[in-house]
């Protein structure tokens, strides 16, 4: 190994540092909200923290605890959780090839895939291409584990502090997710296809909720808007 190459330990720590600089706290705050929801649903604190470590997808956790609190049937809850997490499939598929240099076997790739959530995906797409392929895996694992660890703590805090925040701060907490993701997508956008995808997501989401209801509206938005953005971006690349 070239002595000028950073060690695995240094790469892991760089990932941890980049996560703690902002992204881990943003996703941590959204899971703080999930923790408070779990606190109101009657689950023990350990189950709330376990849901963050295992489910690791804010919307799915909101559906799970919100569904149980509202008395919905368990199979229906599982189906809704599954539907809400379909988005993890294209995200994981598009991210894995960037890490395949060192994550070759199926068990390691399944571990890598487990950390995929919106925040980690958006950040990985923005940060990983800048790293040499052999440096990406330790950096990614440091980054993702720092996010997960921070969130396990904030889920517990949210559970413990439920209802204690005054309204303006609670509103600010809920506003953090849309603000951060909008800026993160903006910062990571490369080329016409990305901009069109962002724009069509914003434009189509309210439209498809009105058209097909709130169970499959996101799926429709993603497929229709994303496909249109892909083809228009391709046309633009061809013309340029």
């Amino acid at each position: 190994m070239d002595p000028r190459e950073p060690s695995t330990r240094a790469l892991v720590l760089r990932g941890v540092r980049d996560a703690l600089a902002l992204p881990a706290w943003v996703v941590g705050l959204s899971l703080f909200a999930v923790g408070s929801l779990a606190g109101e649903s009657g689950f023990p604190a350990g189950a709330a923290v376990l849901s963050t470590l295992l489910i690791w997808a804010g919307p799915a956790q909101v559906i799970f605890f919100g569904g149980i609190a509202s008395g919905a049937a368990l199979p229906g809850i599982a189906l809704a959780v599954g539907l809400s997490s379909i988005r993890l499939l294209p995200m994981t598929i598009s991210m894995l090839p960037m890490l395949r240099e060192r994550a070759k076997g199926a068990p390691l790739q399944i571990l890598v895939a487990h950390y995929v959530t919106v925040t980690v995906w958006v950040e990985a797409l923005r940060r990983l291409p800048a790293l040499p392929p052999e440096e990406r895996l330790p950096y990614y694992l440091g980054f993702a584990n720092a996010c997960l660890g921070t969130c396990a703590v904030t889920t517990y805090l949210g559970y413990a502090l439920v209802g204690a925040l005054p309204l303006p701060l609670a509103a600010g907490l809920l506003f953090l997710t849309p603000t951060f993701f909008t800026l993160s997508l903006t910062a990571g956008a490369r080329g016409a296809s990305d901009w069109l995808a962002i724009g069509s997501g914003f434009a189509l989401a309210p439209l498809s909720t009105a058209l097909v209801g709130k169970d499959i509206d996101l799926l429709l938005t993603g497929l229709v808007g994303g496909t249109a953005a892909y083809f228009l971006g391709k046309l633009q690349r061809g013309a340029a």
Partner: protein, 120 residues
């Protein structure tokens, strides 16, 4: 299901695993097997990336247009205005995500404070 049942023994943990973890994790594991043999530059990933990006933008739009809980107390125009301010700050501060988040949050919390009269 009663709240008592949720506080006893391993039940709540098993519920999290069976009805939360498994239906969600299946997509991640499936992705590992579906992505094999694909090159990172393969054209299909450009499409997958566009779909996933649109999904995230769609989730963001849903939270902004139809928020739950405390955020609903702030009117839509204020929510969009605070976001626009955040985007403006992001570009002014040489594409700093942190600066954009801080500006957008300050605007929204300020607006929420002003609307409700409650100190943050």
């Amino acid at each position: 299901m009663s709240a008592d049942a949720l506080q006893t023994g391993l039940w709540p943990y098993l519920l999290v695993i069976a009805f939360g973890f498994l239906p969600s994790e299946v997509w991640r594991v499936l992705a590992v097997f579906l992505s094999r043999g694909f090159d990172e530059r393969a054209e299909v990933f450009a499409w997958v990336r566009a779909v996933a990006t649109t999904l995230v933008a769609g989730v963001v739009a849903k939270i902004l247009f139809a928020p739950a809980g405390a955020l609903a107390a702030v009117p839509l125009l204020w929510r969009l205005g605070a976001l626009a301010l955040g985007i403006g700050a992001f570009f002014l501060a040489r594409r700093s995500v942190m600066a954009g988040v801080v500006a957008g949050e300050a605007a929204l919390i300020g607006a929420a404070w002003w609307m409700t009269g409650a100190p943050p």
